[in-house]
């Protein structure tokens, strides 16, 4: 192997090792989102500075680690709020958010309504429909940004992935009525 090929191979191996490190950070967010994680601690554990981790993570996954963490928390929060037995504050802390204000703001951005309204709507739907009999129309009314009528028949873990709220795909603002 000539020297330039060898150098290229080394650069590529380093790039793959760096990406695998980012994967471990992302997996850790998935696994430990309910703990009081912060970007500094995540970065320290993979021997990076917080700024470097944030830039590299965004380049690889299209969003910052903080944004990914919050999205993950809001996703879990929608599931817990649907259950109906926890208050918004309880859910906020259960998913690892320390600030109710930040939680509410991010929830509203991603889901299209505040967590309290989401919880009331989920309760109303549950009361109106016997379990398992909800039709597509009523689900659309209650579904906010996360509809379930399109994922029927998918393996559950795929449904989870496609219904996951995604940063950069925030819920659209309420449509303006035509004049």
């Amino acid at each position: 192997m000539c020297q330039s090929e060898w150098r290229r191979a080394r650069v590529e191996a380093q790039r793959l090792a760096d990406l695998a490190r980012l994967r471990r950070v992302r997996d850790r967010i998935d696994r430990e989102y309910a703990l009081p994680l912060n970007v500094e601690a995540l970065a320290r554990d993979v021997n990076m500075s917080a700024g470097h981790l944030s830039r590299q993570f965004r380049a690889a996954y299209g969003e910052s680690p903080y944004s990914y963490l919050m999205t993950r928390r809001i996703e879990r929060a929608t599931a817990l709020l649907r259950r109906g037995d926890l208050s918004v504050t309880e859910v906020c802390f259960a998913v690892g958010c320390a600030s109710l204000g930040t939680f509410t703001t991010r929830f509203t951005e991603l889901v299209g309504m505040p967590p309290g309204a989401f919880r009331r709507q989920a309760a109303a739907t549950a009361a109106a429909e016997p379990a398992g009999a909800a039709g597509p129309a009523s689900q659309r009314e209650a579904g906010a940004a996360i509809t379930v009528d399109t994922v029927e028949g998918m393996p559950a873990c795929v449904a989870k992935q496609v219904t996951r709220p995604v940063r950069n795909r925030e819920a659209p603002a309420a449509g303006q009525p035509l004049a």
């Binding site: 590529e12 090792a17 996954y61 559950a156 449904a159």
Partner: protein, 136 residues
């Protein structure tokens, strides 16, 4: 029609590491192992189920794959966004206890999901996502 799902394939980037994971961590049997170096094709599967196999294969071995495509595939594998598979077991907790020992990368501990299943998730050494769902 009488068609069964016989073999599905997942990529490896270090054949020995992947072989050890499927054999020693998941407890699969090794059914065949051909090729050498990085070009190895290893067939594994659960004992007692000879009709279903996973082929651990080198990524981008097809000569029609361009250099850019090969780079994209290996980067996606490293990022953890390329291969995945869904396995199932009747006793998720016991399985998780066994597989999480050692240095297996855990992505999700056994969790009750809002859509009615309970599952956990791991990474294999090549970055493939291994989801294990509880049969009930």
């Amino acid at each position: 029609m009488d068609i069964t799902i016989h073999t599905t394939s997942l990529p490896h980037d270090d054949p020995d590491a992947s072989l050890a994971f499927y054999r020693d961590v998941l407890g699969f049997e090794v059914r065949s192992d051909v090729g050498q170096g990085r070009m190895r094709w290893i067939t594994v599967g659960p004992a007692g189920q000879p009709d279903t196999s996973i082929l651990l294969a080198p990524p981008a071995a097809d000569p029609g794959i361009t250099e850019d495509e090969r780079r994209t595939i290996t980067e996606m594998m490293a990022k953890g966004t390329y291969g995945w598979i869904l396995l199932a077991t009747p006793d998720l907790d016991a399985t998780f206890e066994k597989v999480q020992a050692g240095d297996t990368e855990v992505v999700q501990e056994p969790t009750e999901q809002p859509y009615g299943i309970r599952d956990c998730a791991l990474r294999d050494p090549a970055g493939n996502l291994i989801r294990i769902q509880e049969l009930r």
